[in-house]
């Protein structure tokens, strides 16, 4: 009973705060500091997740249409949008010369994250199609990048098992991740070739082995669901001071692929059958990292 009452009080307080108190509090501070909330955020928080997360919250809670629309601004309209906000909030450039640029970065990051999700989702929904030369070539390229010393005997062959596909034709393994899964695998092998080959060789370990490609597709799912839930916001706000692009998503995948391999080897699981338990443990670790305000999940090794 007491718990119910406490939750009711909390709910009432929340309601009172968002619909009434927050407005007057902001008005009062504005009178004292002569700055609007967005200005205070831009000057008071350091660039990256600390600032952009605050700005996003401020825009989301705003009752002003111009401010709320800014959350979904097009990339080429960001400057106009920042100017409109300054008009709306009566901010004078000369008095706060850095504000406009800082606000623009925040807007690019906030709206860019949503755009990134749309492009990732588009790529995921593209099924691997053997009829498409582009898809087929990417698959063959993956083989050549990972195992340059061995030639594929034919397109349908047991050799695919050597890089961790399930059967003799990888096309059925992409499933719910579609071309997003393949693109991530190729990006990792192309941009971090040595690291990818090293991870592949670990995955062929007689005792601690796992299926390289299948686990990679599974980690793509992890990256995808983290993006979808919004959990990756702090990472992208900290690492990309602009609108994040697909390439940045692939970079994050590289981080997960490298770190998961390290984690797996350190944990020494009994067998591959334990995969999902360790995947969850790793997933929890990543989510915990993403709660840190200065998180950056960046793979720091020399390229190629």
């Amino acid at each position: 009973m007491r718990r119910v009452r406490a939750r009711m009080l909390e709910f009432l307080w929340q309601h009172f705060y968002t619909s009434f108190l927050r407005f007057w509090l902001k008005w009062f501070i504005r009178q004292v500091t002569r700055k609007c909330e967005l200005q205070r955020i831009c000057s008071g928080y350091k660039q990256g997740a600390p600032r952009t997360v605050q700005a996003e919250y401020s825009l989301e809670s705003s009752k002003n249409k111009v401010l709320r629309a800014a959350l979904n601004v097009e990339e080429n309209m960001v400057e106009e949008c920042a100017e409109a906000i300054m008009m709306e909030k009566k901010v004078v450039s000369q008095k706060d010369p850095t504000f406009k640029l800082n606000l623009q970065v925040c807007l690019l990051q906030i709206s860019g994250y949503k755009r990134l999700y749309v492009s990732v989702e588009d790529l995921r929904k593209q099924m691997f199609d053997s009829e498409k030369a582009e898809h087929e070539n990417m698959l063959l390229k993956l083989w050549d990048l990972l195992v340059p010393s061995v030639k594929l005997e034919s397109r349908i062959t047991k050799q695919w098992g050597d890089i961790g596909f399930q059967g003799d034709d990888p096309k059925t393994d992409f499933r719910g991740m579609g071309m997003l899964g393949l693109t991530n695998l190729v990006f990792f092998s192309e941009n971090y070739t040595d690291v990818a080959r090293q991870v592949l060789s670990h995955s062929n370990h007689p005792k601690l082995g796992y299926s390289y490609a299948i686990v990679g597709i599974n980690l793509t799912e992890m990256a995808y669901s983290l993006l979808k839930s919004g959990a990756l916001k702090p990472h992208f706000y900290n690492t990309v001071p602009q609108s994040p692009k697909l390439e940045h998503f692939h970079q994050l995948y590289c981080y997960l692929a490298y770190e998961f391999d390290k984690f797996w080897i350190e944990e020494k699981p009994e067998s591959i059958m334990e995969f999902n338990r360790y995947r969850e443990k790793f997933h929890d670790q990543v989510k915990k990292q993403l709660e840190e305000p200065d998180v950056t999940l960046y793979l720091r090794v020399d390229c190629k």
Partner: protein, 182 residues
């Protein structure tokens, strides 16, 4: 048909725990089936490394459904999950004719396993939503199912994607668990 309603139908059994094992070749649709039963999103499934398990519990009674990866490399591990199985569900991709022989062989080997002797088996002729899918009757004939004499068996055509046929199959599963336990 959700896991909870299956659990309710199984309530007449004296056991505290019922164990259902999902097996079959890779890309047969085991995980999609499991997620359908658990009413979960089936749009971003990836190949199973190891296994997935779903459990439901109600009033001290428990149902566990085990979905074990079908990749050739991990089939040797299947036997680790045989013990105390109440029903085996074997999932076949009805559109993948090239692998009918392979899937038949795997099934025959399972039915020879001592730890699975007498365990009722439901064969799901999955992917009936695809135009190229073979009908259940053709698969039954190809697998010589009519020669099975040592256990209850049933073949059910279904589509794990659309959910069609799953309920009928699961009704049979409940019935055979109940009759086996009595």
């Amino acid at each position: 048909m959700g896991l909870l309603s299956i659990l309710r139908k199984l309530k007449s059994t004296p056991d505290q725990e019922v164990r259902i094992l999902l097996l079959g070749l890779d890309n047969g649709g085991k995980t999609t089936l499991l997620k359908q039963l658990a009413s979960e999103d089936i749009s971003h499934i990836t190949p199973t490394q190891g296994f997935n398990i779903k459990s439901v519990q109600s009033q001290g009674f428990k149902l566990n459904v085990w979905d074990i990866g079908g990749q050739r490399k991990i089939r040797p591990y299947w036997r680790n999950y045989f013990e105390n199985t109440d029903v085996l569900i074997y999932v076949i991709d009805s559109a993948d004719r090239k692998r009918f022989e392979e899937t038949g062989q795997e099934l025959a080997e399972l039915l020879d396993e001592e730890k699975l002797s007498g365990v009722p088996v439901l064969i799901f002729a999955n992917k009936q939503d695809l135009l190229t899918a073979a009908p259940a009757s053709e698969i039954a004939e190809g697998l010589n199912l009519h020669t099975i004499r040592d256990r209850l068996w049933q073949i059910q055509s279904c589509s794990a994607l659309t959910g069609e046929g799953i309920q009928d199959g699961m009704n049979w599963v409940c019935k055979s668990v109940n009759s086996k336990k009595k």
